[in-house]
Amino acid sequence: MDQLFVNLKNMALHLIGVFAPDWLVSLSSILISVGAMTFLGIFIMMYLTLMERKVIGRMQNRIGPNRVGKWGLLQPVADAIKMLTKEDIVPEPADRLLHFLAPVMIVIPALLIFAVIPFGRNMTALDLNVGLLYFFAMSSTTTMVIFMAGWGSRNKYASLGGMRSVAQMISYEVPMVLSVVPVLLSVGSLSTGKIVEAQADLWFVLTPWGFFACVIFFLCGVAECNRSPFDLPEAESEIVAGFHTEFSGMKFALFYMAEFMNAFSIAALTATLFLGGWQGPLLPSWLWFILKTYSLLFVMMWFRGTLPRLRADQMMGLAWKFLLPLALVNILAAGLHLYLGGPAGFASALIILLGSFMGLSKVNRSYVPEKREYVLAD
């Protein structure tokens, strides 16, 4: 049961191998994985939109889509049809090439990241030994594409939104990369497969530095895909819809798909790095992966259902003045924990981290004017 998909693929390969030359077999094995990834990407995106609307609905005491299909299960199909049939407007002053290229180039990295995510025991499509760095490289290319979208549509709101979201993504990339360093310290390799194997007996989230690193990574991941409390760049009330203002129909669907795929890969990677990927006692490995990833996605939607949007300066302040120093101290604590080992290391790491957390929160106390006394006119 655990190796269900792997055996399926091998069976398919044997089938093909019967009447095809060997190079075609290896090519088809690549194509099968790529096909599975792309189908997974599209399938995930469709049903994440439904899940998000249902969860946020239930949090606000309403039901969420249940008209189309049994429990609204066909709602994504309806959305897809609506989006595909909507007229695709290209604004007159817009730059044809950029306006067309931006949605295409935003989906490419979103899909490429799936190659590195370990969906189950030896179910990683491409187990690079620089897996994690590959993830950061791919997620950093989206900044340029967002510029293209914002600049290509020659619209003040779009370019403003583009600049804002790029500034946000860059300032959240730094703490994100630094928060992963403790995991590399303890595992010693960048490949996601090895990281998951190293968490067989102890998930990293249970260690003090692991918990803090997980929180920092997850927060930065949420900010990286412009979601929930950090969605200032595409906030309807602020600048219309940020960099994808001028996109409609199929192009907007691509942006929408890329956003959800990024959200999925962030949740998947947080699960891989800190919650032990597909490690789990009874259930088959890939089921464990799905459970963990979807619980983290639930947390993302939970944020969206609760937290108000951050102001631009609060958002930047949080990244540079809170998350970055905390990530640096976290590396120190992780080093200490691994060097000392055992309860002494655990305790010292915990003390350092809690101390720095309290200190940083004291420093970052936003300016609250003291109580004002009103002198009433007599």
Binding site: P21, S26, V130, A137, S140, T141, M144, F147, G188, S189
Partner: protein, 168 residues
């Protein structure tokens, strides 16, 4: 398996061709934004070349640093400086031809030098593991690494001071 290698070789040559085309684009596009984007194309092709040459850590670092950060810097600069002037971004046709002539002379010279030497790659080279790179970085090349750190720190402060608006 060798037929798959043919595929990979073809892929590398395609990458090289795309890279050189994008490089020519980066240089000769009047619209600076297109030039920036074709530079990004070059960077991604060069990352592909690194992969084929066995330096996958370098390929990822290249994409991360170049396409992630340097491209954003360049595009910020393009958007913040005067946009109308983009149209006039090339010298007269005569200077362009002259410079192409000069550069192609240099290129022919170097190409003949490259082709004349017999590059025999050392045998027994296996793909470098990332931790070997890290170990070497920390042991043999610790000095350039520290100097680089200090330099980047200086650049960080310098760039902010220069670009700051209000001369306080």
């Amino acid at each position: 398996m060798e037929s798959l290698q043919v595929l990979v070789k073809a892929g590398i040559y395609i990458l090289m061709a795309a890279g050189s085309l994008a490089a020519i684009g980066a240089v000769f596009f009047p619209n600076l934004f297109y030039a920036g984007l074709s530079l990004a194309g070059v960077l991604i092709c060069v990352a592909g070349i690194y992969l084929s040459a066995g330096a996958d850590f370098l390929a990822m670092v290249q994409i991360l640093i170049y396409v992630g950060a340097v491209m954003t810097l360049i595009i910020y600069a393009i958007m913040l400086t005067n946009i109308e002037e983009i149209k006039v971004s090339h010298l007269g046709i005569k200077q362009i031809l002259l410079s192409i002539l000069a550069v192609s002379g240099f290129a022919v010279l170097t190409a003949s030098a490259i082709l004349s030497i017999d590059w025999r790659p050392l045998s027994g080279q296996n793909r470098l593991e990332v931790h070997e790179l890290g170990a070497a970085l920390m042991s043999r090349y610790i000095f350039p690494f520290e100097v680089l750190g200090i330099l980047l720190f200086a650049v960080l402060i310098g760039a902010i001071v220069i670009a700051r608006k209000d001369k306080v």
